[in-house]
Amino acid sequence: MPITRRRFLLSSALVGGGVLIGYSATRPSRHRRANDELAKAGENFVTSFLKIDPDNTVTVYVPHSEMGQGVHTSLSMMAADELDANWELVNIEQAPAIDLFANGDLVNGFAGEMGAPSFLAPLIAVSAVKIAEIGNLQTTGGSSSVRFTGEHSMRYAGAAARDMLIQCAANRWQVPAAECSTALSYVHHNASGQSLSYGELAADAALLEPSKEPTLKTRDQYNIMGKAISRNDIPAKVDGTAPFGLDAQPEDMLYAAIRLAPVFGTKLVSVDAGDVLSRRGIKKIVELEDSVAVVADSYWRAKMALADVKTEFEKSGNENVSSDSIFAQFDKTLAESDGDTDREIGDTDAAFESASDVIEANYRVPYLAHAPMEPMNCTVHLHEDGTAEVWTSTQDALGIKSRIASILGIAAEDTQFHHSYVGGGFGRRLPFTWNVIDHAALIAKEFNVPVKTVLSREDDMQQDYYRPAVASNFKAAFDSSGLVRAWQNRFTGPIQTPGASHIPYAIDNQSIRVVDGETHIPIAAWRSVDHSQQTFFTESFIDEVAHRAGKNPYQFRMDLLHEHPRHQRVLKTAAEAAGYGRDLPEGHALGIAVQESFGSVVAEIAEVSMDENMRPVVHKVTCAIDCGFAVNPDTAAAQIESGIIFGLTAAMYGEITIEGGRVAQNNFPDYEMVRMATTPEIDVHILESDNTLGGFGEPATPPLAAAVTNAIYILTGQRVRELPIKNHNFNKPSLAKA
C-alpha cells in the first residue's frame, strides 16, 4: 500500500469523520474527544479505540457489530498485538454508537477495491457532500471488518499508542525512545533496567498526538494475531445471558405486532379492527401509510389480535406479477436488449463467426430471503423531554440511530443507542433495509413508553429485501482445434457487486453485458451479494465448456488460470485434499468451483452421490482459501463452515417465489434449511500468502452451488441450470461418466 494512502487512512482512524473530502484538520482529534466525552476519572483514551487504565488493563472499543463472526475478538487482537499488550489484561467493549467511533475505513477500503460497497450506493449517488457522511456509519458488512477497520484502524491505533507510551517512558527516563522496548503491557529500558507499566504511562501518553505513521509489526513479530483465541462473546451465548435486540426489556414496555402491505409498495386503504381494542392488554391500533400495528402489553396478545384485524390495501398494478411473469420479462429483455457493458475483451463477434462449435445455456436463480434466526425487531422509547432510546440488532448502529432520530424529528445526539448482539445479519440488517426500523419509530411516536415492534417469522420472510432473482444466458465458441475462443454472457441486473460476473479464465474474447432486471420486489445485499448467483452461473458454464472440450474440469480450469496463481493454488490444494483423481466410494463424484470475492480466493470441491430415490447427498465439502493471513484462524474456519452451509441451503432448497405480487413462502417449512442431518463433512484449508488480508464472512458461500451441481452432472448427465436443486428430478443415467 502506498504511504500516502496509509496516512490518509490513519487520519480517518484517529482524527474524525469526513476525511474523504479532507477537512479533518480543523477538528479535535478523536482520542481527545474520547477523553472529554467518555473517560471516567483516572481513565485515559490513548488513541481512539484504545483505553488504558491505571491498573494496566487495556480496553479495546470495537466499532463493529458482533453477529457471530468473532469481530470483537479479532479486531481487539489486532490492536492489542500492535500495542504489545498482555492479552490477559485486555477487555473488549462494543464501541458506542457515536460518530467518534464511526468506521468509515470500510468505505475507504471499498473505494480502493471496487468503488463503494453496494449497500452504500444510494448514499453515494446523492452528492459529493454526502460522501463525507458515509464516514458516519458503523457498518458491519462486505467481509470488511478485519481487512479494512482492523488493518487500517485498529492496528494503527495500537501501534500509535505503543509509540506514544514509549515516548512518555523515554521522556521520564531521559533516554532515547529508540533504546526502549515493549512487551506484555510494559515499556522497558534494558540498559538501565527500568520498567513502567502502560497504566503508569497512560495519562501522560494521552496528551501526545498520535503519530501518523507508526511502525506496524511484520507477521513474524505477531504475538497475538494468527493464534486461535477463544471468542469473548461465546460464554454469554451458552448460558442465555447474551442480549439480542429482541431481548430488550426497558420498564413499562409495550409490544407491537405489525402487518405490512403484502404487495410491495402499496398503501393501506382501510382497517376493520372489530372488537380487538376491547380485548385484554390491547392498547391501540396504529395505522401507518403502508401497514397496521396492534400495540399491547404482550407480543403474543398483540399478534393474536392482529390476526383478527381486517385490512385492505390499495391496488398497485403488481397484483398479477409472479415469478413466472418476472422470468418471462427477463427472457424478453435478454432477447431484445443489448444492455450495458460489464466487460468487453477482444472481438467476440468475430470469434463466433469463425467458430467451429458453439454451445449455449440459460441459467436462473430465484429470490432468496435472509431469514436470520432473530426475527426483525426494534424497540424505541421517545421520552417526554424529546430524547429517545433505541434497542435493536443491527449491522449499522450509527446509521440506525440517525435514521430513527430523523423519523422522530429529533437530533441524533439526543438519541441513545443500546447495543446488543446481532442474531444473524447476512445483509438483512444493513443500511437501507429499514422497514421494521422505520415502523418501530413511527409506532413509538404514539406513546411515551418504550414500544418493541416485532416482525413475526412469516412477516420477516414476506417483507425482506431479497437476493434478486436473476437470469443469465451464455454462449461459448470453440475453434477447429477444440480450444475455447469466446465467452458471451448476458444477465439481468442490477449489478450490486462490480466484477462478480467476471471470469479469471484466459479466454481471448469476452463479452459480458447486463440488461435491466428491475421489478417491484425490493432487493439488497445477501451474503456474498452478486457472487452468490454469478459464481453459480460462471462456474457451471465453464464446467459445460470443459466437458464440451472433452477435458477434465479440474485440468481445464488449471490450464486457463495460468495468469491467476492464487486460483491455481487453492484449486490444487482443495483437489489434493479432496482426493481428486483418486478412487472414490462407488457412486460418488467430485464437483469443482473457484471464485475470488471480498479479497479472498476460494476453491470448493463437493463430494456428492445420489441416494436410492435419485436425490443428491452432499457427503463432504473440501475448501481451500487464500486469505492472505487469518487473524484468528479458528474463527476464520468457523466462517468458512458457515458460508458453505449457507450456500448449501440456498443451492438445495432456497427459493422465494412471487405469486399475486407478493411472496408465497411463510416460514421455515416452506423455506427449508440445511440441518444437522443434511450437513456434510467440511474440510477447511486456510492458505496464507503475501497478499493483503481477504475477507472470511462471505467468500465461502459463492462456489458451493456450482461445486454441487457440477458433481450432479457427473453422476447423472443432467446439468442443473436453475436453482434450487430440490425442484429437479434426476434419472438414473444409462451410462454414468466417471
Binding site: M67, G68, Q69, S230, R231, D233, I234, P235, A236, K237, V238, D239, G240, T241, A242, P243, F244, L246, D247, Q249, Y255, R280, S298, Y299, W300, A371, P372, M373, E374, P375, Y421, V422, G423, G424, G425, F426, V454, S456, R457, E458, D634, T635, A638, E641, S642, G643, I644, I645, F646, N667, F668, P669, M673, V674, R675, M676, A677, T679, E681, I682
Partner: protein, 162 residues
C-alpha cells in the same frame, strides 16, 4: 391462573390458558434466554425442558404444563446440580458439561439459536449418553442459520461416554 415451576421456583401467572409457554417465559417472567424463532415449532430456538424432556415452548400452551417442572437455559446448571447424569454434571455453579463443551469447541456464532440447541442436546445426552450420528441427526433438528452444525456434532462427540 397458570401454575408451574420454572428453574425450581413456583410461578403463578394470571395469563390466558392458551398463551404459549415461550411468551410466558419471555414477556411475563423476563427469561429472555429462551428465543422466539418461528412460532410454529419448526426451528427449535424456543426449546426448554419439561420434566427434563426437550419441548418446543412456542406451541406449548401454559394450560398443558400445569404443575410441571420447566427448565430454561438460565436454570440448566442449577437443574444439573440435582441430576445424576453425566451430561448434566455442572462443572461450576453456572455451566454444565454441555455448555463447557460449547465453549471448548467454539460452537456458537451469532448465538441466537444456541439456547435451544443446548437444551435439545442436553436432553438427548441425558437419555442417550452415547448417541450415534444417526441418533444425533434424528433428534437434533434445530435450525442454525449460521451453520454451527459441524461444531455441534464435534461437541456432542466430545461428551459421549463410550
Amino acid at each position: 391462573m397458570a401454575n408451574f415451576k420454572v428453574n425450581g421456583q413456583d410461578k403463578t401467572l394470571d395469563i390466558e390458558p392458551d398463551m404459549p409457554l415461550l411468551w410466558a417465559l419471555r414477556d411475563e417472567l423476563g427469561l429472555t434466554g429462551t428465543k422466539f424463532g418461528c412460532g410454529i415449532a419448526a426451528c427449535g430456538a424456543c426449546t426448554v425442558h419439561i420434566n427434563g424432556i426437550a419441548v418446543r415452548s412456542c406451541i406449548t400452551p401454559v394450560s398443558a404444563i400445569e404443575g410441571q417442572e420447566i427448565t430454561t437455559i438460565e436454570g440448566l446448571a442449577s437443574a444439573a446440580a440435582g441430576s445424576k447424569t453425566s451430561s448434566y454434571e455442572p462443572i461450576n455453579p453456572t455451566l454444565t458439561a454441555v455448555q463447557q463443551a460449547w465453549i471448548d469447541h467454539q460452537v456458537p456464532q451469532c448465538g441466537y439459536c444456541q439456547s435451544g440447541m443446548i437444551m435439545a442436546v442436553s436432553s438427548l445426552l441425558a437419555q442417550n449418553p452415547n448417541p450415534s450420528d444417526e441418533d444425533i441427526d434424528s433428534s437434533i433438528t434445530n435450525v442454525c442459520r449460521c451453520g454451527s452444525y459441524p461444531r455441534v456434532r464435534r461437541a456432542i462427540r466430545s461428551l459421549a461416554t463410550a
